[in-house]
């Protein structure tokens, strides 16, 4: 009796395992899932796009994962994703790696606009910050709010991990490629930064404009003489806001098939309308 139970258990376990044995990507009627990997800044947007697209096209699945633009780019180079989300342009060295591994060039497709916002706690009264000031904060040269005309409080700067496209963009455009100060707290996602800044009255952070809730967004001045500009559709589109940037899709070679239909949909009116719903700005206005 006991033996029979054991045998039955083993057989059913085996059946479960075998039924799971994939035959790999099915061809023909069923579609292979489209993978989209990369930028944390874009992950909410990409998920919205994916959800809505899948609603209109049942039978097709789009899988969205975050982790940072660096993760997406690494996956693209390793061949592990169809579309890479990136909140910064790919570097020439990275494009070369794709070419040498896959024999094709990357296709760079800007899909949305973003204003990189500077977050401070809601109780922070600072009126505006110049780009050089922001740079000094994040390279560790300004360490106290007093130096910016505020209270005597030690400044705590939050930033992203080095795999983040936002990290890279910030480094290139705001820090002019200098290194971040060691004391900058690295958090794994923009949501975590917003959460931390909202809890910490002496803190400052950066990230995509769409994530800004529960904190104050500080208007940015290009330098001492310029006007302070807040990120909005108008200021980001014209480039008036100094920290405007493109958000990209990258594919290996020209996209085709399901991937192409998805990207076309994203660039079309419906997809671009979703940008604003999420909090970003459309790249193509029709």
């Amino acid at each position: 009796m006991r033996n029979r139970c054991v045998v039955l258990m083993l057989v059913s376990a085996l059946a479960v395992a075998l039924s799971g044995c994939g035959r790999g990507p099915d061809s023909g009627e069923q579609h292979r899932p489209v993978t989209v990997k990369g930028s944390d800044t874009m992950v909410i947007l990409a998920q919205s796009w994916a959800e809505n697209y899948m609603k209109e096209h049942p039978g097709l699945t789009i899988q969205v994962t975050g982790g940072g633009s660096g993760v997406g780019i690494a996956a693209l180079i390793n061949g592990g994703t169809d579309i890479c989300n990136a909140s910064r342009p790919m570097k020439p060295a990275e494009k070369n790696q794709v070419r040498s591994r896959h024999g094709k060039d990357v296709k760079e497709i800007p899909v949305a606009l973003d204003g990189l916002a500077i977050y401070v706690s809601e109780s922070n009264p600072i009126q505006s910050l110049t780009e050089p000031q922001i740079k000094s904060i994040y390279t560790g040269k300004i360490t106290n709010w007093r130096e910016l005309g505020g209270k005597d409080a030690r400044l705590v700067a939050y930033g992203r991990e080095n795999s983040s496209g936002t990290y890279q963009f910030f480094k290139e455009h705001v820090l002019n490629n200098e290194d971040f100060a060691r004391e900058v707290q690295t958090l794994p996602g923009t949501g975590a930064i917003v959460n931390a800044v909202s809890k910490d009255p002496a803190s400052i952070g950066y990230g995509g404009i769409a994530y800004a809730s529960g904190i104050r967004v500080v208007p940015v001045r290009k330098d001492e003489k310029s006007e302070a500009v807040s990120p909005s559709l108008a200021t980001v589109k014209t480039g008036q806001y100094p920290l405007s940037r493109n958000l990209f899709f990258y594919t290996i070679g020209e996209p085709s098939g399901d991937v192409k239909s998805f990207i076309d949909w994203v660039l079309d009116r419906e997809g671009q309308k979703l940008c604003e719903a999420v909090g970003y700005y459309p790249i193509i206005q029709k």
Binding site: G20, G22, G24, I62, G191, A192, V194
Partner: protein, 306 residues
């Protein structure tokens, strides 16, 4: 001897005793606070709907069913891999190996040290060996180079976790084997059984309880560890349930990690986050509790004599 000397010594002794008791109290208090905090904030959202529905609206609404399913699928696959392997290893060490064998010594050493290897190193191994080496090999051999198994998949997470929990199963099985009195085996032999027949019909049924304990403890560990599955197969948001061995999966522990560090709006998802933690905690406790109960019953049976 002046009387206050011995009084003072006695007082000092009692005070030190009280301090050690205080240490116990502190530990108990900490455990109570943690569990209390999680239950308080997590019980609110707990409902059948939460457990059976997929998430909606960026995890502020809906439930966590895919994470529960993924964790269950992972654990089942892991058990299929680890129980036969662990039990066979324990049987070898206890029944087959010559008594003072060097090999047994090395195997035991290997098992003990596997138990101490950090979980993230298993994760590294999972990525470096299972995904990059075995997975890509399978892809090249069976699928002509297209990427199927050479990327994060539930099978690789399950195998990585199986390695992680192998020591638990081996130790529990060995304990159970040791508990069987020698004359059971001798009687079997005297009736003409071969060694395998003796194991299959006498030893294994007798040690079933211990093996079960080991399995349950392994499952409890497997459902809670996140570092090994982070890069070998877990994902945050998947539109489909994992039905193929090469699919990715959502997992409760990984979900807690991503939700608490990378979620869109950490404040809005806080209730769901707490409830997910509560579900994970309840799951691990239930498993642990069952395993410990079974083990206690076995040990009691041993002490009371058969």
């Amino acid at each position: 001897m002046p009387s206050n000397w011995s009084d003072r010594t006695e007082l000092k002794g009692k005070a030190m005793q009280a301090l050690t008791a205080l240490a116990c109290l502190i530990i108990i208090a900490i455990v109570a606070i943690i569990i209390g905090n999680i239950v308080t904030y997590g019980a609110g959202k707990l409902s059948w709907e939460f457990l059976s529905e997929p998430p909606r609206d960026h995890f502020t609404k809906g439930g966590i069913f895919p994470a529960i399913f993924g964790t269950a699928a992972l654990v089942i696959l892991m058990t299929i891999a680890v129980i036969p392997l662990g039990v066979a290893t324990a049987i070898y060490m206890h029944e087959y190996a010559p008594k003072r064998s060097r090999l047994v010594h090395f195997v035991r050493l290997a098992i003990q040290n596997l138990a101490g290897v950090p979980a993230i190193v298993f994760g590294l191994f999972g990525v470096g060996f299972f995904i990059e080496f075995v997975g890509r090999g399978i892809d090249r051999g069976l699928y002509g180079g297209s990427l199927v198994y050479g990327q994060p998949a539930i099978i690789w997470s399950a195998l990585t976790m199986a390695l992680l929990t192998l020591p638990t199963v081996v130790v529990a099985t060995e304990e159970a084997l040791r508990a069987i009195p020698a004359n059971y085996r001798e009687v079997a032999y005297s009736l003409g059984a071969t060694r395998w027949q003796m194991i299959w019909r006498v030893v294994l049924p007798q040690s079933a309880g211990g093996i079960l304990t080991g399995g349950i403890l392994a499952v409890s560990r497997g459902s809670g560890e996140v570092a090994p599955v982070m890069f070998t197969g877990a994902a945050y948001s998947l539109p489909e349930l994992p039905v193929r061995l090469h699919n990715q999966f959502m997992e409760l522990g990984y979900h807690v990690y991503v939700m608490s560090t990378q979620a869109f709006d950490v404040e809005a998802t806080k209730p769901a986050l707490y409830s997910t933690v509560l579900v994970l905690l309840m799951l691990t406790f239930l498993l642990n509790f069952t395993g410990i109960m079974i083990r206690a019953r076995i040990r009691k049976r041993l002490r009371d004599g058969r």
